[in-house]
């Protein structure tokens, strides 16, 4: 039977999916590299004029464009820190039997399923400087003096977006870490207790190493998600005021609208390279495991 082992499986089945994926995902990825070196204003091959590194130089040196890169990093790192921190705290808090545990897990994850546009619209109202729910609350508890212009103060706006993103995705991060905590067999703790291991020792030798892979995944997923952000920013500030909340995603969208397609392509390629550089270390591990399958 050995020679026929692979016979019943045919590559014909992968053809439709692979073809679409190649034409509309892989080819654009490579073609983006080509366009990033070109000056192009319309979607036509005859309009492509190669200009060398100009687009990249513009993206990296133009104040407006480089603000986007800076903001993307601020957004990605700040949201990752907060989401993973809060998510882990929630996971530890909810990894026990409380009467409200099920309700609390349901509620914590719920923002993750809402559309970003809906969330954005709500926070646009909640962060309204005078009428908004948040500043009203600050006034009510006597902190009216510090009530800021959440979305119109250029120094604050990006952090307000960080807050919204954290609200939406902390529960999701919680679910990842919680899955890790719950994958640990109770037997380990039981035998550790029998051997007289302290709580700290149990954490250090059982909980921490076994949850670490999940924790790493949560970090990576959030970091990539943060760098890729588009819809939240577009829905709430569209990159404004000025360029205060411009990120990669809004930059590409604007270049699409204004016909500066080469710069958009270059920004998009830069984003991909950054994402690859961040994920590559873990990616190798995953790849090795998957090839062996």
């Amino acid at each position: 039977m050995k020679p026929t082992k692979n016979k019943p499986y045919t590559y014909t089945l992968i053809l439709p999916g692979m073809l679409l994926y190649a034409v509309f995902f892989l080819v654009p990825s490579l073609f983006g590299g080509v366009l990033s070196f070109a000056n192009i204003g319309r979607f036509s091959f005859s309009d492509i004029r190669f200009t060398g590194w100009t687009n990249y130089i513009n993206v990296l040196t133009d104040d407006y464009l480089s603000a986007a890169i800076r903001n993307s990093f601020v957004f990605a790192f700040a949201t990752t820190l907060l989401k993973v921190g809060i998510g882990t705290a929630l996971a530890v808090f909810l990894n026990r039997k409380l009467r409200a545990t099920n309700y609390l897990r349901t509620v914590a994850f719920l923002p993750a399923v809402l559309s970003t546009v809906a969330v954005g619209v709500f926070f646009t109202s909640a962060m309204h400087p005078t009428n908004g729910m948040i500043n009203r609350f600050l006034h009510a508890v006597g902190l009216g003096a510090i009530a800021p212009d959440w979305l119109t103060d250029p120094h604050l706006a990006i952090y307000s977006l960080v807050g919204i993103e954290t609200w939406k995705w902390s529960g999701f991060t919680m679910a990842i870490v919680l899955a890790g905590l719950q994958s640990i067999s109770k037997d380990y703790y039981e035998s550790a207790n029998i051997e007289g291991a302290s709580e700290w020792q149990q954490f250090r030798s059982i909980t921490f190493p076994l949850v670490l892979p999940y924790f790493n995944n949560a970090l990576i997923v959030n970091l990539i998600g943060g760098l890729k952000v588009f819809d939240l920013v577009q829905a709430v500030t569209q990159g404004g005021p000025g360029s205060a909340t411009e990120v990669f995603g809004t930059l590409v969208f604007k270049s699409f609208g204004s016909g500066r397609l080469g710069e958009g392509a270059a920004a998009s390629i830069l984003l991909s390279l950054i994402v690859i550089a961040i994920t590559l270390p873990t990616w190798k591990l995953i790849a090795r495991k998957e090839v062996e399958l």
């Binding site: 692979n6 499986y9 045919t10 509309f24 409200a100 609390l104 399923v113 809402l114 619209v121 995944n217």
Partner: protein, 272 residues
């Protein structure tokens, strides 16, 4: 375990924290029932007068919501159907074949989980191939979710014993009947997960549809919010009613099928 913190304190802290999510939801719903002035005040108070149906009727009328619902149904149904067929077929052959080639192709597909879509060249190519509006949105949503779906099915195939294939082959079943007749019916649990997750992703999508469905006639219901930004941007009652309408389907599905959704959405990060 050693420290006995009173349980009620933890319960109370949890309930208090949950207000951070519950209050916004309550706020949106309650303000969708107020008149224009009442909603503009943005308070948590109950409406003095309830505009239960009239707000929603006006919102549906003014916001082009019926068109949006029709478009959302079309795009969501087509994308999800496409994903089920393409991903289940691709994952089957790649998981069962154990060659260098199949491993390489699988890696190429997994790349899509990591690198972002290059939207400008993608738009260029759809434009060049005359793939427009709905079809373009459906194809692009399908390819951007293709990696996830294939990954999901691959995990499931590992749990289907090869003995099933082998005994079918001994009975003289060919490769296509093996897949469509014998394997595909076994996939129901993972297909349900894929349907739910991709339904929510496509319904909520904004990042792709905004490029391809760029006129009010083509908007999905999630994009209809833009119909309020001009003329109706101060009608918060209508805007909140729109938000309720857009969110209700996903929230209902989530409350009914929570386990599937949490497992499915975190699958990529939990199994890797």
């Amino acid at each position: 375990m050693s420290r006995k913190r009173p349980r009620w304190a933890a319960e109370a802290a949890g309930l208090l924290l949950s207000l951070l999510v519950v209050v916004p939801l309550y706020f949106i719903v309650v303000n969708s029932f107020k008149d224009k002035a009442g909603a503009a005040a943005m308070s948590l108070a109950l409406p003095r007068k309830w505009f239960l149906l009239s707000n929603y009727a006006e919102m549906i009328d003014a916001g082009g919501v019926l068109t949006g619902l029709k478009n959302s149904a079309l795009v969501t149904f087509a994308t999800v159907a496409l994903l089920i067929v393409l991903c289940s077929m691709t994952a089957f052959t790649l998981q069962r074949k154990n060659t260098r080639m199949s491993g390489l192709l699988y890696l190429l597909i997994l790349l899509g989980l990591m690198i972002p879509l290059q939207i400008i060249p993608a738009y260029f190519i759809t434009y060049y191939l005359h793939v427009k509006t709905y079809l373009a949105a459906i194809v692009m949503l399908a390819v951007t979710n293709f990696s996830f779906g294939t990954f999901l099915y691959t995990g499931f195939y590992k749990s289907i014993p090869r003995e099933i294939d082998e005994s079918a082959i001994v009975d003289g079943v060919g490769p296509y009947r093996l897949f469509f007749g014998i394997i595909f019916p076994l996939l129901r649990p993972v297909t349900v997960t894929l349907i739910i997750i991709s339904f929510m992703g496509v319904w909520n999508d904004f990042g792709i549809t905004i490029y391809f469905l760029n006129s009010p006639r083509n908007y999905t219901v999630t994009l209809t919010i833009f119909n309020f930004l001009g003329t109706y941007s101060s009608d918060w009652n209508l805007i909140f009613a729109n938000v309720v309408l857009v969110s209700a389907p996903v929230v209902i599905v989530y409350l009914l099928l929570q386990r599937y959704i949490i497992d499915g959405m975190t699958a990529g990060s939990v199994k890797g």
